[in-house]
Symmetry: C2
Subunit: 139 residues, 2 copies
DNA sequence: TCCTTTTTGCAAATAATTTGCAACTACTAA
DNA sequence: TTAGTAGTTGCAAATTATTTGCAAAAAGGA
């Protein structure tokens, strides 16, 4: 996925600018397969920029649907680059001890969510789901 | 559920004290069926105490297994009183617009969690799951 | 009632995230 | 190429949730 080119296009269309920090952040995200915290992204940048700039960039990327925000329950947002056209919905398995992360593609059946929506008269359901456990090393 | 008496017993056993703030917090939690944020608990107390006291009390109650902490993804912890012996594991359906909360007892099959554990060599799995949608009023 | 240990209130410290603002820069229209 | 304009950035200060140090106050047992 050439997200850099794709990114450029999307930005231009929205009257946004392609700047050094933004490209660097994208490169950093591309190099990772797991969600990264803002601090981690910031620390990984070769040509550093202000932390606030990273925060602002992540909001922008999220609004553009290029990154997905995840919440592991530790009070720190984490972001993962998502493929073009994908909504990025998936889950993780996190070691309670060493914080190792495993990407999980599986999810429970759509029926459960549908039933919950119907039974309560809600629409447009989504969900947040993360698994926790002890990894092989930490058991 | 007479959580006050139960509470008293458990505290005594642990060399902890039964104080006004603690009883008041328990009473407040008992009056609610949905998770309450610390601020909400604090504001609901008839005889007010310091916010820090509420934070400390919630940690204690959590350690004692009397309340369960929930995370709706808005950066604010919420707590719900749980029945004796129960681990309090359950989920919620939250309106993205007005924040109405519905208690959800259903959960996906144990098999899915088991499979995820096995496939990755993890043990002691748990999960956090919350549903979001638009309530009848907000659609 | 007295003593010891636990709690509390208060203020200050943390930590993640946001925001105001002036200086700066990417694009673009000429 | 060169302004001109709108979008960006750095920096410092503000916000928000939560934690913590500490001395004064309260609880429970002897
Ligand atoms: Mn992922
Ligand atoms: Mn609940
Ligand atoms: Zn581990
Ligand atoms: Zn609603």
């Amino acid at each position: 996925m050439d997200s850099l080119r794709q990114f450029t296009h999307r930005l231009r269309r929205r009257d946004r600018r392609i700047t050094g920090p933004r490209q660097a952040i994208l490169e950093t995200l591309r190099a990772q397969e797991h969600p990264l915290a803002i601090r981690q992204i910031h620390d990984a940048l070769h040509e550093p920029c202000d932390l606030a700039t990273v925060y602002r960039a992540m909001h922008m990327l999220e609004d553009m649907g290029m990154v997905k925000r995840f919440d592991f329950g530790d009070g720190t947002a984490r972001f993962e680059l998502i493929a073009e056209g994908d909504d990025g919905h998936h889950h993780h398995l996190i070691c309670r001890n060493c914080a190792t992360v495993v990407e999980i593609e599986e999810c429970f059946s759509k029926k459960l969510e549908q039933r919950i929506a119907n039974q309560n008269g809600f629409t447009a359901l989504t969900h947040k789901l993360e698994f926790f456990g002890l990894c092989p090393t930490c058991q």
